[in-house]
Amino acid sequence: MIVITVNGKQEELPESTSITDLLIKYGVKPETVVVELNYEIPERQSWADIKLVNEDHLEIVKFIGGG
């Protein structure tokens, strides 16, 4: 198992969980959010290939555009 920070909270996850796996696990549709990993912004196309590792810091931000 690995421990990472998601939206400021600690989460325990199986090894080799990708960003896409994590979003699915959270019930988040990938097309409705943007993510930041360790203060860098990975391309959407690479989310399925990026495996999360111990102490990663992930922020998930929804598309919010109403007023």
């Binding site: 097309e31 930041e36 203060y39 931000v61 929804k62 598309f63 919010i64 555009g65 109403g66 007023g67």
Partner: protein, 253 residues
């Protein structure tokens, strides 16, 4: 330097903020000289315009082509039941002038488009993006980037709110956050997601606060970071956000 000294009545009107650290008559005069444009006179624009008028921002421009309808009234607090069917810009002018007769309201009762956005934005110091859709947000934030004007982005959907202040070339821009629109554009209209009036009340009020701080030059604005608000858990998140190296707008070519 300043156009005119504050009158005695206005010393009284603004007395609670004049005594604040970093404010004083000098700060009040900066507000008086400032021109703020509010794009969208809906759930966000209502509280933003009311608080900016109350604070004494000298010139407030309002862009909106819509009229007031019943379904607006749970959140668009600048309007009353008697305003149904009237232009939001006209109703806002009436309401804001009644609150503070010493400020100037400039009405732009039109639909913002690529043809008119530049000539409208260019006349203002600070832009508050309070629109209700992604295409207009890109139009406003892209244009403001090229004009080098600060934009205060605020948005709501469902129980979620978001806020960021963009200083061109200094902070991440709107496209550093959202490089391209979401696939499902309608995803975010409050018609689809619903909205409780207090949420745009909170975010729109924070947009007004950001504008005042930018104008006076006090404190830290929400720049280089993003604040999100979850109305269901009543929690804020403060997220550091960097410029995208490959940002389609502000990235190094």
């Amino acid at each position: 330097m300043y156009s005119q000294e504050l009158t005695d009545n206005n010393m009284l009107r603004y007395t609670r903020q004049l005594v604040l650290d970093g404010f004083g008559p000098e700060g009040q005069n900066k507000l008086k000289m400032a021109k703020v444009l509010i794009v969208g006179a809906g759930g966000l624009g209502s509280p933003a315009s009311i608080y900016l008028a109350a604070a004494g921002v000298g010139t407030i421009g309002i862009v909106d082509y819509d009229t007031v309808s019943y379904s607006n009234l749970n959140r668009q607090i600048a309007y009353s039941t008697e305003d149904i069917g009237r232009y939001k810009t006209d109703c806002s002018e009436k309401q804001l002038t009644r609150l503070n007769p010493d400020i100037e309201i400039i009405k732009h009762s039109l639909k913002l488009s690529a043809d008119n956005v530049r000539e409208i934005l260019v006349a203002y110091d600070v832009i508050i993006d309070a629109t209700d859709n992604f295409p207009t947000r890109y139009l406003v934030s892209d244009t403001a980037y090229f004009l080098k004007k600060p934009v205060i982005e605020g948005a709501v959907a469902g129980y979620d709110g978001i806020l960021m202040t963009i200083i061109p070339d200094k902070t991440p821009c709107y496209r550093c956050l959202y490089p391209t629109p979401p696939e499902d554009i309608a995803l975010n209209s409050t018609e689809e997601t619903g909205v409780l009036g207090m949420l745009p009340g909170i975010i729109g009020t924070m947009q007004a606060l950001e504008a005042v701080k930018l104008i006076i030059g006090i404190g830290q604005t929400v720049s280089g970071r993003i604040i999100t608000f979850d109305a269901i858990s009543s929690s804020f998140r403060d997220i550091s956000w960097k410029r995208r190296k490959d940002c389609p707008l502000c990235g190094k070519k």
